[in-house]
């Protein structure tokens, strides 16, 4: 694990440095940052940002979209070598999947590749503004173009960051469906295996094969028997798709139970280990898409 972030009390007013990315993005960032009273500084490009960051202790930097992905990562590396806990969100038009992994490894807070989802970007900026301790949340254990292993702290903001890195790859063979399935099993693992305890971690592997993408999630819990989950929709009989709702009510459980079923429906294979604390998602790739990717 990386060293835990500082427990020093937050400064009275936080400062953000925003690199120009065009009118719409700039206005969006202004609105989000100003709504929480942040002081906003501007840079014309990432080199300008680097120069400003050398003298000003910014709390958050949002890079400009016109830089190449590797340049963003280099700036991230240089800035974080001087200010380890600074939050940096990368926006970029041009990138490779390797750039996304490198950004994650170097401690980017998040990564957005064009086209940008304005609402998602706004939410991630808010998450960065609110995160008092974040940069030991995701650790890249190993990474090749075909196999990436990471650990993630058991909390929802860390899950959201990891999911956004996966979206940032924009691999046409990784459709939104498998990302949503991954998010469901990840949150399941963090909640039921890790009890959303920030001292606990989930281990994740992403594997990109020629004809399939796979994702393995291992949680720190004791596991469970899938067949015994009567309060989960995944065990509903085929002619009664919602019978678990009544079971949950009888047991006094809050509304829920759709996560595993939704994940299963969005991928081709969902396989649990015998102990039940590891799950594998597999999505087979259409050969036509795999040739394009």
């Amino acid at each position: 694990m990386t060293s835990p972030c500082s427990s020093a009390p937050p400064a009275p007013q936080k400062t953000a440095l925003v690199v120009a990315s065009g009118k719409d993005i700039d206005e969006l960032l202004n609105t989000v940052l100003a709504s929480d009273g942040w002081s906003i500084h501007r840079a014309e490009d990432n080199q300008h940002a680097l120069a400003l960051a050398a003298t000003e202790p910014f709390d958050l930097i949002v890079t400009g979209r016109k830089m190449l992905g590797p340049d963003d990562v280099e700036i991230l590396r240089r800035i974080r070598s001087a200010r380890a806990h600074l939050r940096l969100i990368i926006l970029t038009d041009r990138f490779t999947p390797g750039d996304v992994v490198a950004a994650m490894r170097e401690g980017a807070f998040s990564y957005f590749s064009a086209p940008f989802d304005a609402a998602e970007l706004a939410e991630m900026v808010r998450a960065a503004m609110a995160a008092p301790c974040w940069d030991d949340g995701i650790e890249v254990l190993s990474a090749t173009p075909a196999w990436v292993r990471v650990t993630a702290r058991c909390d929802i903001p860390t899950a959201d960051r990891l999911v956004q890195f996966l979206r940032g790859v924009r691999d046409p063979s990784i459709p939104e469906g498998i990302i949503s399935a991954f998010r469901e099993v990840l949150l399941n693992a963090m909640e039921y295996g890790g009890h959303f305890d920030p001292s606990q971690h989930v281990e994740i592997s992403f594997i990109r094969a020629r004809r399939a993408v796979a994702c393995r999630v291992k949680d720190p819990g004791q596991g469970f028997s899938l067949e015994e989950l009567r309060h989960a929709a995944i065990n509903n009989p085929a002619d009664d798709l919602l019978s678990h709702v009544a079971v949950r009510e009888t047991q006094g459980l809050r509304p829920g139970g759709f996560g595993l079923l939704l994940a299963k429906k969005l991928v081709d294979e969902l396989i649990y280990s015998e102990q039940g604390n590891e799950v594998l998602l597999v999505k087979y790739i259409d050969p036509a898409i795999s040739q394009v990717a």
Partner: protein, 128 residues
């Protein structure tokens, strides 16, 4: 907050216009659950969720919607949805929820469905 909820009424139907996402992230599903529970506790029995501007839903959001529908039908009411699209429609589709929760593309037709003679019948034909 990633979810905005506006509430309006048309006769005895309460319409909730949802904008953003109904996910677990920063408590959006919890927010939706709270609003729906309050409405039901205050006597609302016919709810129409306008999903036109809902961009994303996860299992937590779906659970809230289904749980409310379940609760309403036991009280003689119902919940219906208006214009789910994109990723939201995909989630409804893969979970076969459109077989259990009536969905409409037109608000006037959705409202009329609560007044039709088949209202009670359709609810009882498809118990949750």
């Amino acid at each position: 907050m990633g979810l905005q909820i506006s509430i309006r009424e048309s006769d005895d139907v309460t319409i909730l216009d949802l904008r953003g996402r109904a996910t677990i992230d920063v408590g959006e599903s919890e927010l939706l659950d709270g609003r729906l529970q309050t409405l039901v506790a205050n006597g609302a029995r016919k709810l129409l969720l306008n999903l036109t501007d809902l961009t994303r839903v996860d299992s937590s959001g779906i659970s809230v919607i289904v749980g409310t529908c379940f609760s309403l039908r036991r009280k003689g009411g119902d919940l219906r949805v208006l214009r789910p699209s994109g990723p939201v429609l995909e989630v409804f589709r893969v979970l076969h929820l459109l077989d259990a929760i009536p969905s409409f593309d037109d608000e006037a037709r959705a409202l009329a469905s609560f007044r039709s003679r088949g209202y009670a019948a359709s609810s009882s034909l498809r118990p949750l």
